[in-house]
């Protein structure tokens, strides 16, 4: 089981004029990935979701600074442990093809043993001849299938899938998601990072709603059937804005990572905001079988 508690992460960046700026891309994020379960982190792209994956695996760039707690099987996840586990117990299905080594033939990058490679190739409808191609010779969809194959080749206990489906055709996307489901059924914890809430709703057991670098609510997938089952005002607004449920947008935009409000990150847009919300970020608490960070949710 993976537990992330109050994780915050900022980048130190420099302007043209050498002005230092800290970009807080993740603030007080909480998430739990349990074995046998797919949990989806859903939020707009470019909002820092991928960095959560990189933080868990310990592959953040040098100018990233982190606070908070990460536990794996109840033990703190240190850099040393991350190094030992990634690629073995931890697997990453990366977002982009640039994660493949451009100078190594695809077959060698995927391979653990000959049989499993062939099985994986067959599973993702890749030609066996694709094994002797270089990454730039693959089409977008083939490359993506290769990435899936490479990540899932071992027998990982934690699978982090960072936007695994864009660029795949419908049936291949379903196939990939089915494979993730199967891994979960075999006892792996699957963390699915996606901007596509429809995809999350269809395949995940629980959904962590990501807003401006934090998870405002963790809900069961069924909760999205009805607005009143949701807990956080942002999740409710999200629900109302879905094309099938009214297409009614709430006003306002997500705050920029360099200028986050001091209190609840949703307070500037929230119709229920009170001074309490504006002064401090609400703690995460259990509510109706889920988790929510809101003073007003009931």
């Amino acid at each position: 089981m993976l537990e992330v508690k109050n994780l915050s992460l900022f980048f130190r960046m420099y302007d043209r004029a050498f002005k230092r700026q800290d970009l807080k891309v993740i603030s007080n994020l909480n998430i739990i990935a349990r074995p046998g379960e797919i949990i989806a982190v859903a939020g707009s792209s470019g909002s820092g979701k991928s960095l959560l994956a990189h933080a868990i695996l310990g592959i953040l760039p040098k100018n990233a600074f982190m606070s908070g707690e990460m536990l794996w099987q109840k033990n703190p996840l240190t850099i040393k442990i991350q190094k030992r586990l990634r690629g073995k117990e931890f697997a990453l299905v990366p977002q982009s093809v640039t994660y493949l080594d451009p100078l190594m033939k695809v077959g060698r990058q995927v391979s653990r043993s000959k049989d499993t490679t062939l099985n994986l190739f067959r599973r993702y409808q890749l030609d066996e001849s694709a094994a002797s191609l270089f990454p730039h010779e693959l089409s977008g969809g083939m490359a993506r299938r290769t990435l899936l194959g490479a990540a899932l080749a071992g027998n990982p206990k934690l699978v982090i899938a960072d936007e695994p489906t864009p660029g795949l055709s419908q049936d291949l996307a379903e196939n990939a998601m089915a494979h993730l489901r199967e891994m979960a059924n075999n006892g792996a914890a699957v963390l699915l990072i996606t901007h596509d809430i429809d995809l999350a709703l269809r395949f995940a057991d629980r959904i962590a709603v990501f807003y401006a670098g934090t998870t405002v609510e963790t809900a069961n997938a069924q909760d999205f059937a009805n607005e009143s089952h949701l807990r956080h005002p942002y999740s409710k607004a999200l629900w109302r804005a879905m094309p099938q449920n009214g297409f009614e947008p709430a006003p306002g935009t997500q705050p920029y990572a360099g200028a986050l409000p001091q209190g609840c990150l949703y307070a500037p847009r929230c119709p229920f905001a009170t001074p309490l919300c504006i002064n401090a970020q609400p703690e995460s608490r259990h509510l109706r079988g889920g988790e929510v960070s809101c003073n007003h949710a009931d």
């Binding site: 707009s44 792209s45 470019g46 693959l138």
Partner: protein, 221 residues
Amino acid sequence: MRIEAKDLEFGYNNNNNKNINNKNINKNNNKNKNKNIISRLSLTVDSHERTALIGPSGCGKSTLSHILAGNLKPQSGQVLIDNKPLPKHGFCPVQLICQHPEKAINPRWKLGKTLTEAWSPDAQFLEAMGIEKAWLNRYPVELSGGELQRFCIARALAPQTSFIIADEMSTMLDMITQAQIWQALLRIADERGLGLIAVTHSMELAKRVCSRVIEFESLME
């Protein structure tokens, strides 16, 4: 106004096409080296209806959008707007809004310059698009995808534009931003009588924003 595509053929493996460096287009058809992504495709769209082109990702929708907007030349066939081919020079009446706004904006320009590259919108228009004054002085890295997409839309809505092709323009955004930018675009398109082709993989969205829904696969013989 009316946009018409006749017997389009397009494939990425033909050597005679110089535009193949455009990497941002899905080219998911390596399985069959000799088959074109788009083959014998015909389509007619009138500006008084809002048309959704729907199909799974990788089917060639993006390629078609780029051809309709004049970014890519088909190997054969033609695109006509009011029975005339797309102009080679000057402002193109068919404007395209892409999936990744951060790629469609020069990262070295402040957004004010990006916005006015095509035309000079007034304050009222910016408000309707939900663009804040302060953003104009920022660089693209300082804004979110949803905010950047508003600039791409505003830029494309120049007075000379008569057709808008929205190619998965809200796919990477959250649902609230998606609804916001669609509402803004639809309002302005209605006011000006612009034609709209929404290219999407989401049936729900297509049904919500368009009056006519076409399956991409049904366009090819």
